[in-house]
Symmetry: C2
Subunit: 407 residues, 2 copies
Amino acid sequence: MDGPQGHSPRWLQGLPAPAPEFKGQPEFNFVGGHVEADCVPVEALREAAAAAIAEEGGDLAMYNPTGGKGHAGCRRMVAEMLTRRTGMPCDPEEVLIVSGSLQALDLVNHALVGPGDAVPCELENYGGALTRIRARGAEPVGVRTDAHGMVPEALEETLARLGREGRRVGYVYLIPTVQNPTGTVMPEERRREILEIAARHDVTLFEDDCYADLVFAGGRPKAIRALDPDGRTIYCGTFSKQIAPGLRLGFLVADRPALAQLLALKSDAGTPAIEQMTLARMGPMFDEHCAAVQTRLGEKCAVLCEALDAEFGATAEYRRPEGGIFVWATLPAPVDTTRLAAVAAAEGVAINPGAEWCADPDHGRRSLRLCFANPSEETIRAGVAKLAEICRREFGLPERSANVSRV
Amino acid sequence: MDGPQGHSPRWLQGLPAPAPEFKGQPEFNFVGGHVEADCVPVEALREAAAAAIAEEGGDLAMYNPTGGKGHAGCRRMVAEMLTRRTGMPCDPEEVLIVSGSLQALDLVNHALVGPGDAVPCELENYGGALTRIRARGAEPVGVRTDAHGMVPEALEETLARLGREGRRVGYVYLIPTVQNPTGTVMPEERRREILEIAARHDVTLFEDDCYADLVFAGGRPKAIRALDPDGRTIYCGTFSKQIAPGLRLGFLVADRPALAQLLALKSDAGTPAIEQMTLARMGPMFDEHCAAVQTRLGEKCAVLCEALDAEFGATAEYRRPEGGIFVWATLPAPVDTTRLAAVAAAEGVAINPGAEWCADPDHGRRSLRLCFANPSEETIRAGVAKLAEICRREFGLPERSANVSRV
């Protein structure tokens, strides 16, 4: 219908560029929170979905038959799982099921973040969170991190400075367990320090715990919300990482008055029900499944680290992540990972350039995020080798790969 | 955790009121686009979901494995279904799967409607569409309707006036087939007139075809988009009404450049995949299922109309709908349906007050929308009787019910 008479709608100013045509997945795909296909509990999902539809299918006739917070059984499953795994006593009435944790971010931003606001957050950060804060006209304010996550003193300084400047703080955003992209896990003692600072400045904390089921070893600390006496922590999690991202199922947890305010902004007439009724039945297998996924991801992480060591050697600095699905690596000058990502994409290697993954883009210019959960071990090795080759061609680094000088 | 030290987040100004606690479904529920539980094709959904997960479950490991427009098989199913049923030749690349048609409205509004804009639409209209247009700071401008939907002359006058006033028009919103709430079906000839007017003023049409599979008898006319030589019509539909609302699965259809712009605004990392892979398999049973649903809804519509006649007599004026799941009725002064709805809600009877279902709220003050798909026939009869009783107590009308004078 795009004939000569074609009509063009009067688009508003300032829209993002039209989406490019989908050309298939990249050959070496190190981006996106995808997981490994073999880790999806296909048989358990099939059984649970079939049983759920057979027994509760008639409920699909209604929008939100058990209220806007979501399927009652799914909320119960989430509350039990969180109580068991995070140290946070959780009531199903404190749980709002959402369509992926991105919707949790949208609801919280819509309620708390306006133009000109500041949102202190880890300096290296999840690109999707940064984009959303900026889309509200607000500023993600990067707070320094170290091997244990956000540095409390740096948060104190940031909040004090914002206070002096009279800046409104929407909330403090934290990914304390398997930080995205650095892969660190914040110890319990530091969580308590962060809570004290938040109390002193009376700010809301937003704890994004999306990767917390993926700590490789040693278990995970209690959630910040579990240690919070004031209910100042709004918590979100997801089934995307330990079950499957295609479900688009996440959850928000907050004190009931706060949850009621967030729920009022959820205008989608409900999160899809088949996913909810299916997940409601997966409580019994959940812990064992997470343990298996942790083991598998630990193995793949090792493969990526070995490949980085072999292909980049000391040229790539990185900290071995304590869990999750990505490694954050930094290269020396003159490497610019935004340019590297563009060149590599054209050759089938997809990476996240660090500038998109930092509150201060300049801080990330030489860094990159490499996701290892979805590609096979062979693909990881070949992809990292190809990336090193492209990087060398573009920037003269790394000088050596696999113990062979290439320069 | 709501102790004495409880923290209250710094909510932005102007948020909607917190959601009320869910107290269960109303006893007599005449609101919401729910359908009849017996009409949900439970066994077909169970079989399709089980087969889909068994065969494609590994794909759940990725966000949008076949691109942001959605599951390739589901887009193919939608394209074939629309080509077959609406007279609109449709390519899967022109289809964007969305999380319910409300997301379709959100995407289109986000792209085309800004503060101060006008959106001409049928005067009596879907409350969810009106709310969303107003939330953008724009004005839904009611266009007069008759037994065949929006009146072309009235649209011409409206667009001419808006042009003289220099008002920006986002799009013209139309529900031509089973209009919500009036239940009218626009004949093909009038669709062509509307298209000519739209072409003369070079405005975009947004055709909401969510109820079009529910025409009781006589089939449905071609979609406006099927008659549109310029591709000025953005089309949306849903699986909520003929399959089940709990799925939250809808679709947008537009020329590819327009669809690429709308897709760029879909920032949810994909619509849930189990629903999509399940619906992809339900093409073969779709037409037969729709026919059965149409028959059943026609029967329930007759029950509601009989109950209205018996309990309200000539006091309630309504046009028998040509399809769908609701009747739009108007009562004489001094009835105020906003007050009636509030009083009735407290007594377990939920109705949509007309003021919320009109671009000009005053126009709807004496009208109400009654949805009949979900309640049983007994509940419909008892609920309408109770509504008449409440109305009589509050407003002295109707004077007679079931041939018995009650005044």
